[in-house]
Structures are given as structure tokens and as C-alpha cells.
Amino acid sequence: MSSPEEKTLILKSSDNEEFLVKESVAVQCITIKNLVEDGCDLDAIPLLNVDSKNLAWIIEFMEKYADSTSTDAEKKDFDTEFVKKPFNDVLGLILAANYLNFPALMDVMCDACANEMKLWSVEQVREKFHIQNDYTEEEEKAVRAENFWAFE
């Protein structure tokens, strides 16, 4: 009977690629942890909302964070490099981390996203998030006035 630390899981991405991950590493994702604890006995755990590109990155992150020999400084350096991805990929990872309920990755990616946003104008934020401005000119003026006159 193999002990829990040695058990390996098969994670299957939405595009049917399979990844082997140690259970002790994979349970950093609370979604996976719950499946395992509920006694899921499928051959492979299907992650319907995570494609192989994202899953590979997530596993890279999980393995770094599960490694008890990496120091806080090393993790910070890793994070700094890890988040250097095109913005669309940053958003993709945020959604994947949310789906998998992976708090550490969520924090790192949301922080990275916020740091990008701090550098942009309102129009640029809309562009990058593909958001339609649904304010009328009057409404936008009123919000701007309230923001700048009262809350800044």
C-alpha cells in the first residue's frame, strides 16, 4: 500500500492532455483536495476549464511552492519571473486559479494584474479587459467629479 506522500495523480486538461502530479503537491488546489478527500477514484481528474497551456504553468507553480527547500526569497524571485507573461495569459491564469481554488497562485496573479492596471489609463484598462464603456457622458462626468472632488 503506497503511503499518501508518494501517491501520484493524473490531471487531464480540457484539451485531453494528461499530467502526472504528486498528490501532496496537487492538493494545494482546494478543488482537487476536495475531490481526493471525497474518495474520487477516477483514473484521471478532468479539469474541464483548464487547458494544457495553463495547466502546465499551474503545475510549475505548484511544484515550486510545495518544495520545502525553497526559501521565501527564492519564491519571490520565482513569482517575479512567473508573472512575466502576456496580459491575456495573466487573466487566464487568474481564472484557472479561481476554478481550481488555488489561493497562493490567486494572490500572486491578482497582485500582478493589479500592478499592470496601476500603470494604465481608464481607457487602456477597458481595452485590455475588452470592456465596453456603458457610462453615458453625463454619468461618467458625475462619477469623475465625485471621485476627484470628494475622494482624492
Binding site: 484539451d15 487573466l91 491578482c110 494584474c113 470592456i131 464603456n133 472632488w149 475622494f151
Partner: protein, 579 residues
């Protein structure tokens, strides 16, 4: 594989909120609220800290309606010139209506930070009674309350972490407010009561410090003697920020030796202040921690002269922030320049407030500092004299100034060597320091200096002017050129109606404008008020003359105008007229 577009449609609100959690500045949060209506909604329900730069620009009801879940509020009241006694005490800035609304609104207030507001004991009692999770009270330059109000806070705020009183006028009721902290209170992280004049129960203070194991910052008042300080330090070697009380003792005693020992154990102290009453012979007790200090405030220490200051400061090699009196002298500043290479902020205050003698610092001290301290970015400098040559050298040495405030003892003193105005010197400063946000100018100054300010000070947000300029042209240069200007305060300058009325829309892009003892007339103020309904134009007249007797051509003694979303205030006293 989902398309990117459809992925974004599934961006849940809680994910957006998680991203917003990392946007802590109010500027960033204001920006995201403008992206679209759903972002506005997510942002407003998740904003926890609200900053209100002018308490009369908005009402508490509107604040609560927009941010129902806020927990921390920063409020500012009187304009800055109140610090120079130009604003009557009861002009306004009452916190009471804010607290009443916040109570009614069921807000879970945890933190309140007030600057230049009027605070009553009743206000403090409301805070203590209605906000069970109240954690942090910071009052700066406020007045209107007594130690009874502090007693209410101490008695009832079970989770109080921070009580920080800076430069407030507090009436002492001799009620032993500090003893009101119950034995169960162990949560204090920061306690500052330097500005209080009265006694506190020393035994209560020592017990309080002993049981608050998370205490990081302690600043006591003059009534706490050196031997009590020693007992406190023995209990709290973990302190990071210390403000001593009275620092007078016979150094040849056991008490003093014990202090030296206790001080040596305080290896975490990086910020030191106090010395409200000090004997130079006692200063060596702090030498062991000088090498750790990043912040040192000796501006309350009378009677320590240059030689003794220098002996202390030469050990402070990590100093980033230094506040001193001008008793340090140019020579002393030279020692600062060679010892404190990490210095970022310097403030040199007047020791001789009544202007009887000479100050001991001149342009030489400033030049020495600028040459020796490459990281300098913020300065407040009260001095006897200044020269253009010195300012030009300072500008060359320190292009990174964010705040530059110069104050000559004689407000219209010319260049000490050439007898010319100081226009060129300040011109060099604004030209070199591209990130300058705050500027106070002083000395003999013509319209030329304002030409430079308008042309070069593109990031300037706050400008203070006194006894400067020749004509309206000066003020116009500033209003036209400084696109990011938020606060403009002017006294005793020949600026009048033409400047005031040239670009009335400009004032809606600024927080406020103060003009006193200038050439602006009552009629012009009325015109401005009529044409710009979203500005409150206040005339402050303390001579109790009736409104009707004011002739349009009469010059206005004090005018304060500010943009507002809520119209004229209803709490203005009789001597303040909102036109």
C-alpha cells in the same frame, strides 16, 4: 478551448474583487470605478478605506451611500494656513455630524484619522460607544476635546490598537485617562500622547506597556520622567518607535545607568523623538541605538546646541529623516551632510520663534546638505538668509526634490550677497526638480519667479506664497501653467481681481484656494460665486461688520474657496459668509 472574449464574460465578481484588493491607493480605486458600471459597483462595495481631503466637499450621507462597507475614514478640515493662526478656531471642520451619520448608517467603523478638525468629547464618546471594533484613532492638529474624551476611548474600545495624538490642543481634566485602559486591554500597538500637557499615572502606564506585548510605538509626554522611561523600556525592548518624555536626570545615578542598559537592549528602535525637556549630559544614553535610527526628531528639544547635537548625529549613519532646530547651525548641518548619507527628508525649524535673535542657519548649511546627501527629496528650511547661487547649487545637487519649502526669517529678504530677488534661485529649483509636488517660496520675489513656476513646475500640487510678486501676472502664470495644482495658498501678495477671475473653471480642478491680505475685492468674490455655483466662496471677516455694509470695491481680508458637491455649508459661524 474557450475564446478569450467568452472567458472574460465569465470573470466573476469575487475574482474582480480579489484583484481590487491589491489596489490600495484611493487614486487607483477611483480609476477602476470609471471603467464601467459593473466595476463601479464591485469597487464601491469593496472599498474599505476612504479618504476625504476636504470635509466640506461631500456629505457623510453621500459617502455612506457610495461606500456602505467602509471601515476606515480620513478627514481633513481647516486649510493649511490655520497652522499660522490665520484661520479662526471656530471656522469649522466639525467631526460630530460625520460620526452621527456613520452611527446612523450602521457602518462598522474601525479607523478614524482626522486633521485640523474640531473634535468634542461627545464625538469621542460616540466613537467609544457605537463602534465595537474600533481599532485606530489618529488626531493631528485637532482641538475641542479634553482628556475626558480620551478616557472614554481608553475605557470602551476593547480592541484599540492605535491612539496617536499629534500636535493637538487638549484640555487636561486631570481625570487619569490613561488609567482607564482596563486590565484586559492588551491590544495596543501604538500610543502617542506627546502633545498632552498633564500628568499621567506612571504606574498605570508601566502596567499598560507591560501587558501590551505587541506595542511597537510609544511616545510619551513631558510628565513622564527619565526613571519612568527606564522602567518602561525594560518592559518593552521590542519597541520600534520611541518618543521620550522629559530627559533630565543626574547622569551619575543608578537610574541613569539602568537607562543606558535598557536602551542598549532596544535593538529594534529605528525612530526616536521627544526630548521635550532635555539635559545634554543625558544624551549619551541614546548613543548605542543611534546606528539603528532611520528617523530622528529633535525639534522639540530646546537648549541642545550644535556641539551636542553633532555628537549624537555623527553616529546616525542610517538616518533617512531628521527634524532639528536651527540651533544645529551651518557647521552642524555640515556634520549631517558627512554622516547621514541615506538622508531623504530634513526639517530645520526656528528655535527663536519670536524673532529676537539670529537663526544660526544660512544658505551654507543647505548647500552642504545638498552636496552630501544625494537621496534628499524633501526639505523644510527656516533660515536667516539665502542666495541665488546657493539655490542654484542645491538644484544641481538634488534634482529629486518632491517637497521644497524654504522660509526666511524676514519674508522679503533679498539675496544676501547680490541684494537681488531670489527669483533665479527658485527658478533653478523648479527647472531641475521635475517631480516637485510641493513648494513654499520666501524672500524678495518678483513676478519672474511665478513665470518660472508656471513654466517648469508641471507636477506641482501645492504652492504656498507670502509677500511675493508684483502684479496679477504672477498669479496668472501659476494658474495657467501648473496643470496639476490642487492647493494654492497666498497671503500678502499684490494679486487681485484680474487674476482671480481670469480662469474661473480652473478652481473646479483644484481642491482649494486661500487668499488673504491681497487685492481681491468683495465684488469680484461675489462675481466668482455667482458664476461658479459648485464652488463655495467663503469670506472670513472677524471684525463683525454686517454684510450689508460691504462695498463691492472693498478689499477682502480673507477668502477661502473650494469645490464642493454639496453646496454651501450650514455650520458656518457668523463671521464666515458663503457668497
Amino acid at each position: 478551448m474557450h475564446s478569450f472574449q467568452s472567458m472574460l464574460n465569465y470573470f466573476p465578481e469575487e475574482v474582480l474583487e480579489h484583484v481590487f484588493d491589491f489596489l490600495t491607493s484611493h487614486r487607483d480605486r477611483n480609476a477602476v470605478s470609471l471603467v464601467c458600471k459593473s466595476w463601479y459597483a464591485v469597487e464601491r462595495f469593496s472599498r474599505e478605506k476612504v479618504f476625504v481631503g476636504n470635509c466640506y466637499a461631500i456629505s457623510p450621507e453621500r459617502l455612506i451611500a457610495r461606500f456602505p462597507r467602509f471601515r476606515s475614514l480620513t478627514l481633513k478640515g481647516k486649510p493649511h494656513f490655520a497652522d499660522f493662526n490665520l484661520v479662526p478656531n471656530d471656522w469649522g471642520g466639525y467631526v460630530q455630524p460625520w460620526i452621527e451619520s456613520i452611527v446612523r448608517g450602521g457602518v462598522n467603523l474601525e479607523e478614524l484619522r482626522l486633521k485640523r478638525m474640531l473634535v468634542s468629547d461627545e464625538s469621542l464618546e460616540l466613537l467609544a460607544t457605537f463602534f465595537p471594533n474600533f481599532k485606530s484613532l489618529v488626531l493631528v492638529s485637532c482641538e475641542g476635546f479634553t482628556t475626558d474624551g480620551l478616557a472614554a476611548i481608553a475605557s470602551n474600545c476593547r480592541f484599540l490598537r492605535e491612539l496617536d495624538l499629534q500636535e493637538n490642543e487638549v484640555e487636561d481634566r486631570r481625570g487619569q485617562w490613561l488609567s482607564c485602559f482596563p486590565d484586559s486591554c492588551t491590544s495596543l500597538v501604538s500610543l502617542n500622547f506627546t502633545c498632552l500637557k498633564g500628568e499621567v499615572n506612571l504606574a498605570s502606564l508601566e502596567r499598560l506597556v507591560a501587558r501590551c506585548r505587541n506595542l511597537r510605538s510609544l511616545r510619551v509626554n513631558n510628565a513622564v520622567p527619565l526613571d519612568a522611561l527606564q522602567r518602561i523600556l525594560a518592559q518593552a525592548p521590542q519597541l520600534v518607535d520611541l518618543g521620550t518624555g522629559s530627559f533630565v536626570h543626574d547622569p551619575d545615578t543608578e537610574s541613569y545607568n539602568k537607562l543606558e542598559t535598557s536602551m542598549q537592549k532596544c535593538t529594534s528602535i529605528t525612530s526616536l523623538s521627544g526630548f521635550l525637556d532635555v539635559s545634554a549630559r543625558c544624551l549619551p544614553a541614546v548613543y548605542p541605538i543611534c546606528g539603528q535610527l532611520t528617523s530622528l526628531n529633535l525639534s522639540y528639544a530646546p537648549g541642545i546646541y550644535s556641539d551636542e547635537l553633532v555628537k549624537l548625529i555623527c553616529y546616525c549613519n542610517r538616518l533617512e529623516r531628521l527634524l532639528v532646530l536651527d540651533t544645529i547651525g551651518d557647521k552642524g548641518l555640515g556634520v549631517v551632510a558627512s554622516s547621514c548619507k541615506e538622508l531623504q527628508e530634513l526639517r530645520v525649524f526656528l528655535s527663536d520663534v519670536y524673532g529676537i535673535g539670529n537663526t544660526a542657519v544660512t544658505e551654507e548649511g543647505l548647500v552642504a546638505i545638498s552636496a552630501g546627501c544625494p537621496k534628499l527629496n524633501s526639505i523644510l528650511y527656516f533660515c536667516q538668509q539665502m542666495t541665488n547661487e546657493a539655490l542654484i547649487m542645491v538644484a544641481k545637487n538634488c534634482p529629486n526634490f518632491i517637497r521644497f519649502r524654504l522660509c526666511t526669517l524676514n519674508p522679503t529678504v533679498p539675496d544676501a550677497i547680490t541684494m537681488q530677488p531670489l527669483d533665479e534661485g527658485f527658478g533653478a529649483i523648479v527647472k531641475s526638480c521635475k517631480d516637485l509636488k510641493r513648494l513654499s517660496i520666501s524672500g524678495l520675489l518678483t513676478d519672474q519667479v511665478f513665470l518660472y513656476i508656471g513654466r517648469y513646475a508641471k507636477q506641482l500640487e501645492m504652492l504656498s506664497i507670502a509677500f511675493a510678486g508684483d502684479s496679477d501676472k504672477g498669479m496668472l502664470c501659476v494658474l495657467n501653467g501648473c496643470k496639476k495644482l490642487k492647493k494654492l495658498e497666498i497671503r500678502d501678495c499684490p494679486f487681485g481681481n484680474v487674476a482671480l477671475l481670469a480662469d474661473m473653471g480652473k478652481y473646479e480642478t483644484m481642491r482649494s484656494l486661500w487668499m488673504s491680505s491681497c487685492e481681491v475685492t468683495f465684488g469680484a468674490c461675489k462675481t466668482l460665486a455667482r458664476k461658479m455655483p459648485r464652488l463655495n466662496v467663503e469670506i472670513i471677516n472677524e471684525n463683525d461688520q454686517i454684510e450689508a455694509s460691504f462695498d463691492d470695491k472693498q478689499k477682502v481680508e480673507k477668502m477661502y474657496l473650494y469645490r464642493t458637491l454639496v453646496g454651501p455649508r450650514k455650520d458656518a459661524p457668523g463671521f464666515v459668509w458663503t457668497l
